[in-house]
């Protein structure tokens, strides 16, 4: 797979008038491969939100470079190409919807790009259908639920036909129903269209769905790897980074500490149930033999 975003030794310092600025991101290098699902984990203040804003040129690196496709984000002539390649969803559903009608909001990005009205119409309809919000096309955003608002935001990004969808804790302000709604939508788009997903989150269950995880601590990327492998092998480092393992992984770890040899690496309730089943059969086998 080819890289669609390349981050090379990037540091970012927030400018402050009163004092010496603090580095929010320190020397991070990473790649986003085309078609993958990358999760970025970290506690509050670990620099994960800053990092994701560096990926579409909202922030420009103090040191190092970020390349999206063929363009450096610092290249002002191509900043709109960068932002069209990389769509972004923010945490607060209310603060990213511009228009007073759902379909007008989905059209906003395309209007900015100067697409012809006829084509905007087609792409808006397609994007709304893709997030299953077609019936709300003429609704007012403030009448929608949080999950629906986030799906409208996703449609707005999708209409611009991006290769990558950046999401900065898109479910943090939603109730469990809305969270499921949004994650299912993103998962479907990832599966069906090969959309590259970069998801910043502090929900471990959401990170489990991805191909790869990067764990951030104090502005550094301290761990990287497939989620299951990482949660199994680096449990201690993850806890030190201020995160909690997925509940079932944590349960398995504690059971093992008590001397119960839980087989495999169960991460979900179903897997844990299967592991227990296996354990029981094994014991019965021992007694019988």
């Amino acid at each position: 797979m080819s890289d669609i975003i390349r981050v090379q030794d990037v540091s970012y310092e927030y400018e402050r008038a009163d004092e010496q600025g603090e580095l929010a991101v320190r020397g991070v290098s990473m790649r986003v491969k085309k078609g993958e699902w990358l999760s970025i984990l970290g506690r509050n203040g670990s620099g994960k939100s800053t990092l994701i804003k560096l990926l579409n040129g909202l922030f420009l690196p103090t040191h190092g470079s970020v390349t999206v496709g063929n363009f450096d984000t610092r290249d002002e002539n191509h900043i709109w190409d960068v932002r069209q390649t990389v769509g972004m969803i923010f945490q607060n559903p209310d603060n990213q919807i511009v228009a007073t009608i759902v379909e007008e909001d989905v059209a906003f990005g395309l209007e900015n790009l100067g697409v012809s009205p006829k084509e905007i119409r087609q792409r808006v309809d397609a994007a709304l259908a893709a997030v299953r919000m077609s019936e709300y096309a003429a609704a007012a955003p403030h009448m929608l639920s949080g999950g629906q608002k986030q799906r409208v935001a996703i449609a707005g990004a999708l209409a611009m036909e991006p290769d990558v969808l950046l999401m900065d804790e898109p479910t943090a302000m939603l109730d469990p129903g809305g969270r499921r709604e949004v994650m299912e939508t993103v998962e479907r788009l990832h599966r069906e269209r090969g959309l590259t997903v970069v998801l910043v989150t502090h929900f471990m269950e959401e990170a489990l769905r991805g191909d790869r995880v990067i764990v951030m601590q104090d502005g550094r990327a301290i761990l990287e790897g497939p989620p299951r492998e990482l949660f199994a092998k680096e449990a201690e480092a993850i806890c030190r980074a201020g995160l909690e393992l997925p509940p079932m992984a944590e349960l398995a770890r504690r059971l093992r500490a008590k001397g119960l040899s839980v087989p495999g690496e169960p991460m979900t309730v179903e897997e844990m149930a299967a592991a227990f089943g296996a354990l029981r059969r094994e014991r019965r086998g021992k007694h019988a033999g």
């Binding site: 923010f90 209310d94 919807i97 511009v98 990005g109 009205p117 119409r121 707005g156």
Partner: protein, 266 residues
Amino acid sequence: MLKDITLGQFYPGDSLVHRLDPRVKLVLMVVYIAMVFLVEGFLGYLFLAAFLAVSAFLSRIRIKFLLRSIRPVLFIVVFTFVLNILFTRGDHPILEWGVLHITWEGVRFAVFMSLRLVFLLAGTSLLTLTTSPIALTDALERLLKPLNALHFPVHEMAMMMTIALRFIPTLLEETDKIMKAQTARGADFDTGNLLQRAKAMVPLLVPLFVGAFRRADELAMAMEARCYHGGRHRTRMKVLRVSRADGWACGATAATLLLILLERLL
């Protein structure tokens, strides 16, 4: 309770008047206001009343709603009426009693002046009742486009209006939330004299303003992420098209204007 507020007084519908091009409606409204100030004489008022009645009928807006828009300024209408009756000098007295001189001319003038106010309000309300604020903003942006040549930021003004309209319900909801939070901590918004109540608003307004600035910051970032870079090279999804109905509306307005001018001149 704050959830079901309506923006402006737009009354959604699908009547002939609703479907007119908002640009046409806006221009015709300017002509209508000119007519209200030009009209003179009984026949002219009759034409104007007929014009208004037909428009109101075609809009399918209930008379109740139209009258409701007049209610807040009823006092001014009555005040105008009384003042004009008392202070217009004329040669055909009806009643003379001490300092009171009521003349035919006075009554006539007072009635016409009050009618002018009523027509003005009813007509403009008809526009806002049948046109959504967002359509009006849109129409305004397109009509004022030539002002761009004078470096007047037409697009920016329209964008600001759109965002304001978008955030009115959001900020109302937030006000409601903050109010409840402050009430839970013992704040009292409802009692005391005016000064005390104004003071009680401070703990409400400060968090509201701080929140609004934070929202503005985030929204600006979200707009940038979606390639917003001002009005240049921007297209719109909805293309406004002038239809045959717009032609008829223009014709009817022109005819009324002509009749009113004719009466004034002859």
